[in-house]
């Protein structure tokens, strides 16, 4: 399980490798907040290499999204597989996030 942060132009891209769950969500939260405090405003989380996400992982995405919006920024998501899509649909979080099918499309959407 790890989070890799890269900069693509103006956009901070976070790759979530493995699970996003109660045991590691705090690490993701802190990494993104650090970038936000450094002045970054555009964030993309890419789930191409993600296994499963639990409710506390979803909760971190919701609270990060709110924090970033409060600073006039935006958090978008990309590359949800079918099971992650189902998870977002069950919780209606697909209505809260802008979700792209590919990383390139997500990057172009900002």
């Amino acid at each position: 399980m790890s989070f890799t942060i890269k900069k693509e132009g103006e956009i901070v891209v976070v790759d979530v490798e493995g699970q996003l769950i109660v045991g590691n969500r705090q690490e993701l939260k802190q990494k993104v907040i650090d970038e936000l405090e450094r002045g970054e405003r555009k964030f993309l989380i890419d789930f191409a290499q993600t296994g499963y996400i639990d409710s506390s992982g979803l909760g971190v995405l919701v609270s990060l999204s709110k924090k970033i919006r409060e600073q006039g920024g935006e958090l978008r998501l990309a590359n949800l597989n079918d099971d992650l899509k189902t998870l977002f649909e069950l919780t209606k979080l697909d209505t809260l996030f802008q979700i792209s099918d590919t990383r390139d499309r997500a990057l172009a959407s900002f």
Binding site: M1, Q19, I21, V22, G23, G51, Y52, I53, D54, S55, S56, L58, G59, V60, V62, S63, K66, N81, D82, D83, L84, T86, L87, L90, T91, K92, L93, T95, L96
Partner: protein
């Protein structure tokens, strides 16, 4: 992995795992329960979504809500898997709680921007059945949260 199994074979797996009240163990326990389901050819979506997410929720509630991460308190996970269904019991050492009183509709506009409160909701959505019993050991007895899923 061996070939898929028809649903009528006589393979039955019971598993029991005991862990300290530390969320670092959750992923490993999930994998220990998921694996026999995979060997018994459960549906890929059940293996990737229903089983891991519902089970993670139940274990993290046991660790965080019931045992308050007290390192002296343990969580016991028992699973019975066969080619028809998976039944998992997650036992904590906490005070009794009521499932229905605590479950919230996560899709309600009032709740959708909340950070917490999606655990029981997801367990209900991803399992065929979610039940709570008093454990028959311990004082206080602790809760047993039972998840049941038919093999698809």
């Amino acid at each position: 992995m061996a070939a898929p199994l028809p649903s009528d074979v006589g393979l039955r797996v019971s598993l029991a795992v005991e862990i300290p009240s530390d969320v670092a163990y959750i992923e490993r326990v999930v994998e220990l329960v998921r694996h026999p389901c995979e060997e018994l050819a459960y549906d890929p979506h059940q293996l990737a979504l229903n089983v891991p997410v519902a089970l993670s929720e139940a274990i993290s509630n046991a660790i965080l809500r019931a045992n308050n991460e007290d390192p002296q308190k343990r969580v016991l996970v028992r699973a019975e898997v066969d080619t028809r269904r998976l039944v998992v019991d997650v036992q904590d050492e906490g005070e009794p709680f009521d499932l229905d009183d605590n479950i919230r509709d996560a899709t309600d506009p009032e709740n959708i921007e909340r950070e917490d409160g999606r655990g029981l909701f997801l367990m209900r959505a991803l399992m065929d059945r979610v039940e709570r019993f008093d454990a028959n050991t311990g004082a206080p007895p602790g809760n047993v949260v039972r998840l049941t899923l038919s093999r698809a």
